[in-house]
Point group: C2
Chain length 356, copies 2
DNA sequence: CTGTTAGCGCTTTCAA
DNA sequence: TTGAAAGCGCTAACAG
């Protein structure tokens, strides 16, 4: 069996990836001409040459090497999205709309997880930077702001969900404190004598801090003492503890339980419903986030809808605009670009039957 | 303000990405030496040189350009995951575990969506191939098998969720037909006189075809006539039609409604519960997939748990193994690698209160 | 209308 | 223990 595949004629399936050289050789032209073809500069090229090149490219299944292109052009047409956990409802919706808009504009998306660990995040950031992504979008832990500042000096960096003051970084968040204030006020206004707030330890996570703040401020504006439980979602005992504590609150009826995010509620929902309190009469139930099951349970769950898709779209647009801006001005310090801005997209309260 | 940043001393923030040249110059060595350093070949390098290079690299915040590396090494340490919709429950879990395992091994993950459109898929595949990904994992539409065969001849290709016979491609699926057969038998065995199956149009999607087959086979083995509804999830009228049809089935009680996936069930659940049929006594409810809310509703929902995470892990391992294999043997046609294999990971029936 | 050539940043012989 | 130089695949002056 003759394996000398220098004859490219019958190369329906190539064993080795064809290069621009191969195309040039087979088409009997120079690589420059092929390059021109690839970049659509047909203005000065004979129809015959054009056709010939097209044929050979098709025949060899040739695709230009994006690495070589990127190396030359120093832009990869790719963006990194770094999130805590890609299965978090926020991330799922966000990544999807981000990806969608970016791909329309010919950008690829790298997705990576940090698990919320500072060192992992650092590695991932560095590693993505190595890949020469044209921009970075991240749900940051806030523990690598120095690094991010360095990177933001070179490519657009957009922080979503959790804002941090970093030079040259665009923040994109929802109005956590206000929405949480609104929810708490809503509950108190409906006649619940107390609102029990269940959250994960703040640990300097801005969303948690802000939501808690909104809650406590609403409490104090209603003259009601706040009651906060801290839980670890992974730890069933800590969840059990909350349920037990709530169980012994018969005297406080009617009261409401308000969780800081949908994942806490998913853990707490079943045990709470098993208690001897009627919903919504004796016990109200509400959560930040809008789980897909909120409208399936009976009564439907009162919740806060985060503008997840909108944030993804906006993040993509900011990124695209800034990439374009930096290419045009070629001056990364240009003050026209929306550096250091913080965009706030409001969440909305979605009342359900679980409160009132 | 002096902007000549040729002095690298005070370069805490660099405006231009440092290259190996810069490091070499600042450290007073050749790029070869720096390259050796970068690749951990310290065996023959003076401690002083080593230290010096390390310092400069740190100082300039230097990170080697993965593009240049990849161009040279013709491998990018990145893998493409191409799915129909990254927010589908299957994809969310799958992508997550895939990403996790790959990242442990130093691989990056490109994620892209096709929306189930053949042409989009084709573009995405080509485009990822251009990016010189070291492997491709996809939930394919099955409409680009020719292209995939070509690609599979050059890099490992793994098909998940939906299997197609393609030369050199590894398939990774669950036992859709068997699980569906089991579910249907379970329902019929529990005393439901009829099982109504609601699915999206098969349209040659293997999962749909197989699940339907499992259903009809179970029906015929029980001597019960199958009753299939086709719906379009996006179209509320088509969903309404099903609900109406079921509404008029009082004579058939007790019957069960079994949906081909969790997304259909999420649309149908509420309307079905509003009907005048008691669950599970008069009407059983079951679905393929295990939605996170299955255990939150009352009664809990009987469902089929797909081994999503396991599939992600396995996909990653297959990919890694095949990448390693091809590098070692440098012969893509080596028969030792698991080419053309089809791995089947079984799903499990999770009984709930909604049936019985 | 087409080709020559110099790099983009890195790895890797081959020499010293 | 270290360097010089070729080249990965592509683009873009600069020539013809």
């Amino acid at each position: 069996m003759d394996m000398t595949s220098q004859h490219g004629k019958e190369a329906t399936i190539v064993n080795k990836r064809a290069t621009i050289q191969d195309i040039a050789r087979e088409a009997g032209v120079s690589i420059t001409t092929v390059s021109r073809f690839l970049n659509g500069r047909f203005d000065s090229m004979s129809a015959a040459t054009k056709q010939k090149i097209a044929d050979v490219i098709h025949q060899l299944g040739y695709r230009p090497n994006a690495l070589a292109r990127g190396l030359k052009a120093s832009q990869t047409k790719s963006v990194a999205a770094i999130v805590v956990n890609m299965s978090y409802p926020f991330c799922v919706g966000f990544l999807r709309s981000l990806s969608r808009v970016l791909s329309v504009h010919g950008y690829h998306l790298f997705v990576a997880e940090t698990g919320g660990a500072a060192e992992v995040e650092r590695d991932v950031i560095q590693s993505m930077f190595s890949q020469r992504v044209d921009a970075m979008v991240l749900q940051s832990t806030g523990d690598n702001n120095d690094l991010l500042a360095t990177i933001a000096a070179q490519v657009p960096v957009v922080l979503v969900d959790r804002a941090f003051e970093i030079d040259g970084v665009t923040n994109l968040i929802t109005n956590n404190a206000e929405a949480s204030f609104e929810m708490t006020s809503h509950l108190l206004g409906q006649g619940y004598r107390q609102v029990i707030y269940v959250t994960e330890p703040e640990a300097a996570v801005p969303t948690r801090v802000d939501r808690l703040r909104g809650y406590t401020e609403a409490c104090s504006s209603y003259g009601v003492p706040p009651m906060v439980f801290h839980v670890d979602r992974e730890n069933s005992e800590s969840m059990l503890h909350v349920t037990n504590a709530i169980q012994s609150m018969a005297n406080e009826r009617p009261f409401a339980v308000y969780t800081a995010n949908g994942l806490i509620m998913i853990e707490l929902y079943k045990p709470l419903r098993k208690l001897a309190f009627g919903v919504p009469r004796e016990m109200g139930l509400a959560t930040f986030d809008q789980p897909d099951w909120a409208s399936l349970v009976e009564p439907t769950l009162t919740c806060i809808r985060q503008p997840v898709e909108e944030m993804g779209t906006l993040a993509a647009n900011v990124v695209l605009e800034r990439i374009k801006g930096e290419i045009e001005t070629s001056d990364p310090l240009d003050e026209d670009s929306p550096r250091g801005e913080t965009h706030i997209i409001p969440s909305t309260l979605v009342p359900g039957g679980s409160t009132l």
